[in-house]
Subunit: 354 residues, 2 copies
């Protein structure tokens, strides 16, 4: 069992533990007496009873609020439904939410907690590898709008996180490999060790080193978020691979899961780096795609994805900014010229559609 | 011309000026190069051109986004429309919003600014007396849901406020008197001077002392908000009269304007105080209603309004809490027993329906 700590000093003080272990779900306990579990409806069937029993054992009165599976939960409409439900349950400022599901569920649930009565406490039980090493740390919450992903939201820190590794065994292998994208990315942003851990042994939900790898990947995110809680600097590096990823998700209307989009996006970012004369990391990002086996992309032109990349949150009035890697462990946020993007796209397209 | 300053130290540092003067709208200038005016559609016809010209004179590129008049703007649906519009305009983190309208407009616009890309800057141009002395200070933003008013939102501080007193002359006299409720309330919470200012001379948009009264009323709010930015203590006193007010607004589906609901609500709170043996302020709150001349209430039973009061944000799992006044300048937040509420309601009903 690994226990990690997040401590944010600015601008909102926040300090919370992240528990990583097999069986963490059975150990969840919170001080609030009234709580709603906001759960992915598919995950709820399997795991809500364990969570509910743990909460009730410690005296909380529990309501179950299910939301659509995955990204379909992240709409203003679902948000409104959850908020209305909380009001109907008579929730007050001393009530709390516990989210149970992947990153989409905690994004939606966290945003609901942030918005209800201008903010109540929430706790996160991530049920995918992706959510464990990414969404559960850092307090980014929000929903999508038709114009793009994560364009609406708030920073709202959870009060604790319980990552139950046993839950990962109950998910499809493809979902596990999807989530490995962020772990791999955290390797690229540091010393590469996590990349090797993912690629070496056919990393899966029963891997012996799972707890160590997850804890290490979470720690990378904690370190970056602690340095820059509001993403005014280094935190943007976590967006490595995400600019194209968000565009691919939007274009495919979220048919392509986030982690697979990030898999493609990291490879595209590596191609940009190669065109800029940086260390060639394309063999590594390609090896990750070979491990991950993401769903096939529809045939896309540069003009299909560019408008979505231009709308990325990292964009400012000066143009599209990408996170690039000069080498492993040396990320950089930079404006990339349109012709470089187009060249990188040609190389990318040649790999996947010809 | 009066210039006031808000300085909040915790938890989010914020510092911003509030300009109160005749003609302030023509002096608006902001550093951002891209800006959307989020304007009440009725107010926009009269005053958006002045604001737009001022912003353009200082080099901002301006888009006008109109929203329904008054409380009808405060829905998740309108919020979604505004957010989509900002995305379509290609707004980025260095873009900004300026709200133009009453408190409902700045609540909605401020919440949109708080949510878009997890937060962009916004500025407030309040166009009603109510918004000037209340909504423009303190950073409370949000929308309503069918279950109740202001149940959803965020704390998001504006970067500056321009209160143009000339605008008040273009509004119906009833709207001005509606807004006097918060000014009167600020008098009750301090030394009573603002109460006298409102009651003495048939206070209106052409009153000589208007600038002084508005500035003083704003200062009362600033003092309280600076002591308690997140409403964990004293700030709740500003809710004097608001528990019944929110219920009346909900029951009448916002047919009764906020300031008039607060007028009734202050009288009800004074009746509660009388029943609790505090200084009898009911003659004063009644005199205010005689000045304000609010719209008639539909015939309501205690059981019509109680469920809405129980859902108030000040409520916790222990019951309904009211702000009461032991005497002028001595507010208190306390749990009020159901039978006291019911007795006060009987006295209230006897005045208005028999």
């Amino acid at each position: 069992m690994a226990e990690l700590h997040v401590q944010l000093n600015t601008p909102m003080r926040a300090e919370y533990p992240i528990h990583v272990s097999h069986g963490a779900l059975g150990m969840v306990h919170i001080p609030e007496s009234r709580v709603a579990i906001v759960a992915d409806e598919a995950v709820a069937l399997l795991h809500a009873p364990t969570l509910q029993a743990a909460l009730e054992k410690h005296g909380s009165q529990v309501h179950l609020v299910t939301v659509p599976t995955g990204e379909r939960a992240k709409t203003l409409e679902v948000l409104g439904n959850v908020l209305s439900r909380l009001a109907q349950l008579g929730f007050t400022r001393d009530s709390a939410l516990v989210t149970l599901g992947g990153g989409a569920t905690s994004d939606l649930g966290g945003y609901a907690a942030s918005s209800f009565l201008r903010g109540i406490r929430f706790y996160v039980c991530p049920t995918t590898l992706l959510a464990m090493v990414d969404a559960s740390v850092g307090g980014k919450t929000g929903v999508n709008i038709p114009e793009g992903k994560n364009l609406v939201g708030a920073f709202h820190q959870p009060s604790a996180v319980w990552a139950d590794l046993s839950v990962l065994e109950t998910l499809p292998a493809r979902t596990f490999r999807e989530g490995a994208a962020e772990t791999f990315k955290h390797g690229l942003l540091t010393d590469g060790a996590l990349c090797d851990a993912v690629l070496e042994a056919g990393f899966n939900a029963r891997s012996e080193k799972l707890e160590r790898v997850v804890a290490d990947a979470v720690q990378v995110k904690i370190d970056i978020v602690q340095r820059d809680p509001l993403e005014v600097g280094d935190r943007a590096f976590l967006n490595f691979g995400h600019t194209l990823a968000h565009a691919l998700e939007a274009v495919t209307q979220h048919q392509l899961p986030h982690g697979e989009a990030v898999g493609y996006g990291m490879h595209f970012a590596a191609l940009i780096g190669k065109h800029l004369g940086y260390e060639d990391l394309t063999a590594k990002t390609r090896a990750f795609l070979n491990y991950q086996k993401p769903g096939a992309l529809p045939h896309l032109e540069f003009s299909d994805v560019m408008p979505f990349m231009a709308r990325d949150k990292k964009a400012d009035s000066g143009g599209v900014r990408f996170v690039t890697l000069q080498r492993i462990g040396a990320p950089k946020l930079e404006r990339v010229a349109g012709n470089v993007l187009e060249e990188a796209w040609k190389a990318f397209a040649a790999e996947f559609w010809t």
